[in-house]
Symmetry: D2
Subunit: 265 residues, 4 copies
C-alpha cells in the first residue's frame, strides 16, 4: 500500500502567483512526510448556488495557470470538467480529470473523461450510495481506461446538510479502485447561507483523520491563505497556515493504517 | 387559479406510434375533465444507472417523434435536455424544456434553456431544499425568461431512497412560479436494483392526490402500456390503463383545492 | 368509511378553564361539520428537551382536569402515558391512551396500555419506518385489545428536522387499524432552538390537508389561544382562532376523500 | 488522556458461565494492551422489534449474573435500565447505568439514574443531534452527579438504516464528558428484517477504528461466541474469536491518537 496522496488547493483558480503560493508549501509539507501531492483547483465553478457568484477564470486562462504550476513545481495537477467537450483540451494539461458529484451519473461526461486516457476522479454524488459507484466507475472503465479514483464527499442528510459515512470508504475500495476522502466538501452545508453554501471547516480535520485511519489512498482538502475572503467555499476551506500540522497528523495515521491494513471481513 | 395540468408520457421515446398510443388516451381523459395536458417523453436518458442501459432514440429522431405527436394531436410537448447546446434545437420543436434534477444547479444549462424563450421546467435536485429552488429559478430569470416551472420529484432519504416532502410545494410556490408534483419519480428507489433503479408505482397516486389537494399547478406522471417491459423506469411508471381513473380522481381534488386555495399563513 | 375525527387540544394541561376554553370551540366546529372530536392534552411532558422546562400538572391533577372536560362537554379525551404503572389509573378517566413516539417500541408500556381495554393510539417513532408499526401494534394486540390507532408524526430527516412521508398513511392502513396524521408534531424542529424544540406552524395545515385527501381516519392537531406564550410546543401549535376555518377545510377534503376511497393498488 | 476503555459483552445475559466465557478473554486482551475494560450485558431487552422475541433473564437473575462476573473477574460491569424504579436496585451491583437511546430524553429515567451516584452512560437517541446531548447530560448533572458518559450509536438515515457521523464525537466531547463510540449498534439496520433488526458486523471495526483515531474515551462493542445463534443483535455482534485482533488494532490507534490529541479548532 503506497503512502497517502494529498489532493489539495484552492476551490477556484485566482491567478498563477496565487496558485503557486498555495502549492509550494503543500508540496514541501507532503515531501517532508513522504506523501504524494496533487495540486487541485477549478477553472470554472459551473454549479454555484447563485447565478451572480464568481465562477473563475474559464478554461483557457485556467489551463494556463495549471500548466504554470506544473512547470514550475513539477507536481501533477487535477481539475474538474462539466461538459464532455472540455475533456480533451483539459487532458492536454492536467493529470487527473475530475467529474463533479452532481454529474457523477452523466454517462457522456464520464466516458469523455475516460477516453482521454488520463486518470479520472469521480466524486460520489450526494444522492448516491457507496455501492452505486461501481456503476459510475464501469462507465469510465468501458472506455478502456482503468485509471479511476472514487471520492467520498458527503451524502445528503436532510436539507442543507451532508453526512460523511465512513463505511463508504471500504465499500468503494471493494471495487479495487483507489478511494479518496474529500474532507472539506463533506463539511459543506449546501445552500445553507441562502444564496451561498455554508460549512464548518473545524470538522474537516476530524473527517480526514478518521478516513485516513482506514488506510485510504488519498485525502482531498481545499485550502486558502484567506478562506473568509475566498470567492467560493470559504466556510469549509482550511487555512493554508494550518495545513502543515494537519499533513503531519495525517501522515502519522497513514503510516499506522498502512502497517495495519484494514479490509472488510 | 387555472385547472390542473397533467404532464405525462413514457419515460423514453420508443417510436411515433408508441407515443401516439400513449398520448391519445391521456389527451382524451384530460379533456373530459377539463384539465390541461402536456405530452412528456425523453429522447436520451443521459444518466442511466448503468453504462449498458438503453438510452433512447437520440436528439434528431426523438424530436421528429415529438413533432409528430404535436402535429397529429395538437398537444404541447415537453422533453429534457442535458447539455447547453441541445437547448436551441430542442426549442424549435418542444414547448417546455426540462432541466433534470441532477443538473438543476448547472448554470450554463439553465441559462441556455432560458435563452430559448420557451418555458423551462426545473426539477428540484434530490440534494436540494425547496427554498434552494429560488436560486435555480433566478438563473433562468436572469436571461429575461420568466416562463419557469418548478417540480418536486423527491429528496434523498438515506441510501437508494427518496421522500416527497409536501411542504416543498407551498414553499416553492412562494416564488410565484407554477409548481408541479412529479409523483412517479418521487417513488423511485434510485439504484435500488443494483444496476437499475427500483420503485413502487403503487405509491405514486397517493403522492399525486396529496399534492393536488394543495392546489398545485400540475402533476407529472410517467406511464406506459406495459411498464414491466419498458426500457427504463418500469417499476415506478403507472399502467396506461389505470390513468383515466387516476385523472378523474385528481381532477376532483383539483376542483376542490382550487375552490379552497391553500396559502402559507 | 366514517367521517374524519379531530384529535386536538393544547400540548399540556394548564387548568380546567383553560382546557374548556379550547375544547368548546373545537367541539362546536367539528359538530357543525359532522366530524368526530376527541380532546387531547398531556398531564406530564416527560421528555422535554431541557431539564428545567415546565412539565405540566402531573397525573392526579391532570386527570381531574380531563375528567372535568369530559363531564362538562361530553367529549372523549386522550392523553399520553410514559410508564406502565400510569396505564391503569389513566384508563379510569380517559378514552384513548396514547403511547409517545419515543416510547413506541417499549413493550411493557404498550402492553400495559393494551391491558386496560381502552383504545391505544401509538405514535410512530421518528426512528421507525411505517411498515415497522405492524410490530408495535401487535404488541398491543397480543393483550387481546384490538382498539388500536396508528399515528404518523414525522420521521427524522437529518439533524433537528423531521419529514412527513405521505406514503406512511396508506402503508400503515394496510394493518387494518385506523390511521391518524399528527400534523403539528410533524412540523417540529426537535431541539432546533438549543434548549427547546422549534417548529413552523404555517406548514401544519398543508400536511393535514394532504393527509386527509388520502382518506385517513383522523387528524391530530395541537392548538392554543396564545401559542407564543404556551409552556411547550408553541412554535408548532395552531392558533385557536384559526381552527374553525381549518376544520371546515379538512371536512371538505374528507368528504371528497371518503367518496373516492384511496387504496394501495 | 487515559487509555481507551473497552465496554463489551453480549447483547443479552444468557447465564453466568456464558458471561464469564465472554468476559475473560476480553479482560485478558484489554489487559495485554493496557486498555480499560467494562463488561456489558442486558438483563432485559425492553424494546425488541417484536413482542414474541426473547427478552432476557430479568432484573433479579440478571443482577446475580453481573455480580458473579464482578466477583470472579474483578471487572466493572454496565447494564441498561428502562424504568426509573430499576435505577436503585441495579446501582447496588453495577458500576455504570446505561440509558438506552430511545429513552435518552426521558427526564425521570435520566434523573433516577443520576441520583444513584453511579456513572451514567447516555446513548444518543437515533433522533437526536450531537449538540442535543448537552441537554440530556444536564438532566443527569442536575442531580449532582457528574459521572456522565455520552455514547454515539448512529442516527436515523432514511428507513431501517443508521449512519454514524464522526463529527458527533468531537462535538459531544465539547461538553467535557467522556465520549464512547458504540460501533456495533451503529451498523444496525433497525427493523430491517421485518420482525427483527438486521445489521452488518463487517462494518463495525471500520467505525470503531475511525472513531478511536479521534482520541475518544471508549469503544462499545457487542460480541458473542456464536452471533448467528444469539437471541438478539446477532447480525451486528462481532465474533468473540475476532475480538483480540480488533482490540490490538484499536489499542494501536488509541496510542497514536492520544499522542496527537484532536481538538476542534
Amino acid at each position: 500500500d503506497a503512502p497517502l496522496v494529498l489532493i489539495a488547493g484552492p476551490c477556484q483558480l485566482e491567478g498563477l502567483d496565487h496558485a503557486l503560493a498555495i502549492a509550494e508549501p503543500l508540496q514541501a509539507a507532503c515531501s517532508a512526510e513522504g506523501l504524494g501531492f496533487i495540486f487541485k483547483a477549478s477553472f470554472d465553478k459551473a454549479n454555484r448556488t447563485s447565478a451572480g457568484a464568481v465562477r473563475g477564470p474559464g478554461l483557457e486562462e485556467g489551463l494556463a495557470m495549471l500548466a504554470g504550476v506544473k512547470a514550475r513545481l513539477g507536481v501533477p495537477v487535477l481539475t474538474d470538467i462539466h461538459l464532455p467537450e472540455q475533456a480533451a483540451p483539459v487532458a492536454e494539461v492536467v493529470d487527473v480529470l475530475q467529474v463533479p458529484a452532481f454529474l457523477s451519473r452523466q454517462t457522456d461526461l464520464l466516458q469523455a473523461a475516460g477516453r482521454t486516457g488520463r486518470a479520472v476522479n469521480i466524486k460520489k454524488g450526494q444522492f448516491l450510495a457507496p455501492w452505486d459507484m461501481a456503476q459510475a466507475a464501469q462507465k469510465v472503465a468501458a472506455t478502456g481506461n482503468e485509471a479511476i479514483l472514487l471520492t467520498e464527499r458527503g451524502t445528503s442528510f436532510g436539507y442543507n446538510a451532508l453526512v460523511a459515512d465512513m463505511r463508504a470508504l471500504p465499500i468503494m475500495a471493494e471495487t479495487g479502485y483507489p478511494v479518496i476522502m474529500d474532507a472539506t466538501h463533506a463539511v459543506q452545508m449546501p445552500g445553507g447561507q441562502g444564496s451561498a453554501s455554508g460549512g464548518d471547516r473545524r470538522m474537516a480535520p476530524a473527517l480526514a483523520r478518521a478516513a485516513v485511519s482506514l488506510g485510504i489512498a488519498g485525502v482531498f482538502l481545499e485550502t486558502h491563505p484567506d478562506p473568509d475572503n475566498a470567492p467560493s467555499d470559504g466556510p469549509n476551506m482550511i487555512r493554508l497556515e494550518d495545513m502543515p500540522a494537519l499533513i503531519g497528523d495525517l501522515a502519522a495515521f497513514d503510516r499506522l493504517a498502512k502497517a495495519r491494513p484494514f479490509r472488510l471481513g
